[in-house]
Symmetry: C2
Subunit: 352 residues, 2 copies
């Protein structure tokens, strides 16, 4: 019944089993599964078939031990929305377990606390670090890391820096696209709730909104722009102020989902149905967006993919760093997308 048994039981298919099955060396099998060039097509096919038949899949531990590209990476974050962070973490964890990287997670209170956290990581033997927003936009944190000669990559950076590697979306374009969509739905007076002032993305998102409004020849009512802090509560309060004015916007664009959810709650409290009486849209497409009701129309930012990619980028950079390859910053810009759910409605183009 049992196939093969390891030193202490268990039956696992190894690269040797496949090699024997095909009648080649383990080396050749290794080449095939790693997609290397120098293998005869016929041999490749036979190996593939065998891999399939024996249901072989490589032992990640052995691989990362052999390749030596197992690294220890640190993740530094500071007070983001829980929903954002957990999606972020999911991406990081799943990629780092795939790549056999060891993870060290630290939080800090803004850029000021970063030094201590970073020292700690260095001491713990981290080979590089991932920065979550808004830390990724801090020139101060970047400087510290550069002085330490520590490879790092920023996620969701809004301020492009030719010297740092990052993976982002184009916040300006994304905010613009959502704004245009709202205009298309007939909205003319659109309120905007800004994100935390220390997050650079907040500024860019507002700029994208403002630019799209201007391009459409629409005015932004200063009373319909409010400062938020990325929290539900701040979105709630901001919307309450905005909606208690004599003239109300017909739509509110919040810079993240938590604030949008807060805005919806506030509208409900004031007896305004969403989306019948007010359209509310968010940004990020975190769990919050699809957990509340009505579910939120929002800009999808593929947070967990971006986080995963940042791990791969960092690992690459660490490899380069170790082998003395000169550093070259990469900027990966992912696509955003507009997700239309139930919190937005067409109010008919009342126009020229």
């Amino acid at each position: 019944m049992a196939r093969k048994v390891g030193r202490r039981g268990g039956n696992i298919v190894t690269i040797h089993d496949v090699a024997r099955h095909v009648g080649v060396s383990p080396m050749t099998v290794s080449r095939v599964i790693n997609g290397e060039k120098n293998v005869r097509e016929e041999t490749r096919a036979k190996v593939m078939a065998s891999v399939e038949a024996l249901n072989y899949s490589p032992n990640l531990a052995a691989r990362s031990l052999a390749t030596q590209d197992s690294a220890r990476i640190g993740l530094l974050y500071s007070n983001p929305s829980v929903a954002f962070l957990s999606e972020f973490l999911l991406g990081i964890l799943s990629e780092s377990s795939q790549s056999g990287a060891q993870l060290l997670i630290e939080s800090c209170e803004g850029p000021e606390g970063a030094t201590a956290a970073l020292e700690k990581m260095k001491a713990a033997g981290c080979d590089g670090v991932i920065l979550s927003p808004p830390l990724s936009d801090s020139t101060r944190v970047a400087k510290i890391l550069q002085d330490m000669k520590m490879p790092f990559v920023g996620v969701a950076m809004a301020r492009p820096d030719p010297n740092v590697s990052c993976v982002t979306i184009d916040d300006f374009k994304a905010a613009g696209a959502m704004t245009r969509r709202l205009i298309e739905l007939g909205h003319r007076d659109i309120g905007f709730i800004k994100g935390h002032p220390n997050a650079y993305a907040s500024q860019i998102r507002y700029d994208g909104f403002a630019a799209a409004m201007e391009k459409a020849g629409l005015k932004i009512d200063p009373g319909h722009v409010a400062q938020g802090y990325f929290t539900y509560r701040s979105g709630f309060d901001a919307a309450e102020r905005m909606l208690s004015q004599k003239v109300r916007p017909t739509a509110i664009f919040a810079s993240n989902d938590d604030m949008a959810a807060g805005a919806v709650a506030s509208a409900h409290r004031l007896g305004l149905e969403v989306p019948e009486k007010l359209t509310v849209v968010g940004f990020d497409d975190t769990a919050m967006a699809s957990s509340v009701w009505p579910e939120l129309t929002t800009v999808r930012q593929p947070i967990s993919d971006m986080a995963g990619l940042s791990v791969r980028l960092l690992l690459d950079q660490i490899k380069g760093h170790r082998s003395g390859r000169p550093f070259e910053a990469v900027r990966e810009v992912r696509d955003f997308s507009l997700i239309e759910r139930q919190s937005s409605a067409d109010i008919g183009s009342a126009s020229s």
Copy 2:
């Protein structure tokens, strides 16, 4: 400057470096870091000091390769709340990356779809599987796994089964404790929103609530008990029905946080301040609880710890299974705790 360089660069402290530093064999160092008994206290101390000094920490890949206890485990889930799932995943991912386990994640539509997903896992070489609720309570799914002779452990099982390993909290007690707390705050007419009918925990939580009410000599108004489905929307609707009646409860206990958040929104819509006019409490303490405003008083279930523990239990079980050790189910019951935030208020004990 550089300490030691591996085959392709990088400077990592290995067990050999520590051994050399102390003047013992790598074996001895290994014993110390694994906390084995047979080491002279003096030797142990020296090794520890050296580990500290050189900032050594073991290479997980090498360890799991050597111990052979690297396994492939599957995680099967079906339609839970996103907030719950993401905390669950966090625990699973972080523990499995620690233990060097490979993870395969599949979802299915209820117990019916489980067979296919499980076959797939088996084919992919999974050595065992983790079941999230409500799948963990399905006798049908348990049966399939047992027939496959596949080790598995259930998380958050409400229905104790002497033949299956699991990690849970005592839902009955937890619901009872929250209920007593509400009574202590002066509430007499407490509404209850049940969870999804196919989740066994829903029933148990209600039972715990009912038992505590009865023990306190309080009646449950049948109009103040509503069926929910663990979603925000269902909590919103249930609360709306409950709060539109002539007699309203002064508190609502929802079986999870998403529904509690929905209930708060519904109360707001009806012009009822929370917690001034209505206390609302939830269950689980997921991200939702602390994301909304007012933040939710809730029963904390350490989901991510529980999920992590389930991985360790499963790995243990797989090891036993491999070595032919007879199966013995373990039931780990973790502590819950009451988290009091801003959605609950003391309305004064109106009574003897």
